[in-house]
């Protein structure tokens, strides 16, 4: 049987997280199909993903904003033709997949980090302080995939078959509007380097120092919950158990204490640097390189030296 991946579209483009979900799908056995539901979608980039055998395109107004209700209606008759239906564990996937699973009477499996067998998966629980290996007894499996745990599938060189399917009707929920953070920086969850700031920065203005550092390093910016709650930066920068999961090559935590909820979102980074004036701060327990210093001195020095 084949495996269906639900693609996430950002401004018409396939989100990077979807490519990681495709890689997880290739480990399940069977052909990988990709569902592309949106409005005025271009199937060519999806068909170019070598790991994908078939692209299903549902183009319609109802799918313009990826609302869960019409997407679920679209997926419900498709799902039984597959052994697994999966999406990345992003806001999109977490909003959609449980809704679908419930209507299929399936216990979904959230945020898998490894495929052990077609019915057995590893997933973090308790903010990643424990890893559970779970086996599903449902015939059909509905999964979300932690993007940082699977490499991105190649995006070019393939030539998948394209099949058009009818879009769903609009559901009861109405899209009113959105305010998306505009940034020229790399996307937080796929950036090679992330510089993240916490409450220690003390305000929105000092965060500009992090911006300068990020500029020099070509990095994305992240933040702790405390920095977001205090209004220093927008919500979409929050890294952690209940924010975004990142695993860059280099994560620089500045003025972040290292609460377990924050560490849950960045501890799989390859190299971790912590700058904190409190040498007892728990962040130093996960840092490869710790600098005990006042960030207001260390940051300008670091920016200057780069």
């Amino acid at each position: 049987m084949s495996v269906l991946v639900v693609a996430e579209l950002h401004g018409g483009h396939i989100a990077p997280a979807t490519l990681h979900a495709v890689t997880a799908a290739t480990q399940l056995g069977g052909e990988v199909h990709l569902l592309l539901a949106g409005h005025n979608v271009d199937p060519a980039p999806a068909a170019a993903i070598p790991a994908v055998a078939k692209v299903l395109v549902a183009d319609g107004e109802a799918h313009a904003h990826a609302l869960a209700e019409p997407l679920t209606a679209l997926l419900l008759p498709l799902a039984p033709h597959y052994s697994h239906v999966l999406a990345a564990a992003t806001a999109f996937g977490k909003n959609l997949m449980p809704r679908l699973a419930a209507l299929l009477d399936v216990q979904a499996i959230s945020e898998i980090t490894a495929v052990i067998a077609a019915d057995t998966f590893v997933r973090p629980i308790y903010a990643g302080n424990a890893l559970a290996t779970v086996r599903s007894s449902d015939t059909l499996k509905v999964l979300t995939v932690r993007a940082t745990a699977f490499a991105a599938a190649a995006a070019e060189g393939g030539s998948a078959m394209i099949e058009t399917i009818a879009p769903a009707d609009a559901g009861p929920a109405r899209f009113v509007g959105q305010s998306l953070t505009q940034s020229a920086r790399p996307e937080l969850t796929s950036a090679r380097i992330v510089v993240a700031g916490g409450r220690g920065l003390g305000g929105a203005e000092p965060f500009q120092m992090l911006e300068s550092l990020a500029d020099k390093l070509g990095a994305a910016i992240g933040a702790s919950r405390a920095a977001v709650d205090a209004g220093f930066v927008p919500n979409d920068l929050q890294v952690g158990q209940t924010g975004k999961i990142v695993a860059p090559e280099l994560y620089i935590a500045v003025g972040i204490s290292g609460a377990i909820q924050h560490v849950a979102g960045m501890k799989d980074s390859k190299v971790i640097v912590a700058i904190n004036k409190d040498e007892e701060a728990p962040i130093f327990q996960v840092a490869d390189y710790g600098l005990v210093a006042d960030l207001f001195e260390a940051l300008p020095e670091l920016i200057k030296a780069l």
Partner: protein
Amino acid sequence: MKVLVAVKRVVDYNVRIRVKADGSGVETADVKFSANPFDEIAVEEAVRLKEAGKATEVIAVSIGPAQAQDTLRAALGIGADRAILVRTDAEIQPLAVAKILKAVAERESPDLILLGKQAIDDDSSQVGPMLAALLNRPQGTFASKLTIEDGAAVVVREVDGGLETLSLPLPAVVTTDLRLNEPRFISLPNMMKAKKKPMETLTPADLGVDPSPRLTTLKVEEPAKRKAGIKVASVAELLDKLKTEAGVIR
């Protein structure tokens, strides 16, 4: 407008989790439990709707062991009017939770159901959308702002790129994110009042739900520990290490 709020009793977020030596789960004996933080936010939001004259009654519901009564008392202390405990000592997975909550919702006919976006023990983030699906209601997940106007819930959602606003005709299901509100401190007089508020106890069987798990946990392990790092003495040394030792910047 009647509001139903789902509250889970979980290991307190400050507890350092220890995995059991036999790999069967995490240690829960002698650890502090509290209401799931996202659910406290949900209760606070419901009570604020009542205080603003939008809601008429707030009902808190929890599925779990007898001790979940304490969690429900805390919800009553924040200002919920009454509580329902669906008592069971068995492991209840998100799909079963959603089925039980559906049965409760069918008895109570709430106009709005509030849940947390995620339980911080299983980190599933499933029940809200599952419940919305089973009840065939629209959903607004990860809410950082909620207003009730003209028979609709207007929900500002925290999504990966920023914020998104949806309008959901009531009845609807909404899950809370961290920025929705800051739950109040429960005063002693309110805690005393909470003791006198009604609490009903049911079982999954009373509600006609089969809560058997679909997932078997084969083992629970500790994640790999990171190698201990070093302290550097200066920015210059840090940069040197990053360039030559770690090779992550040029």
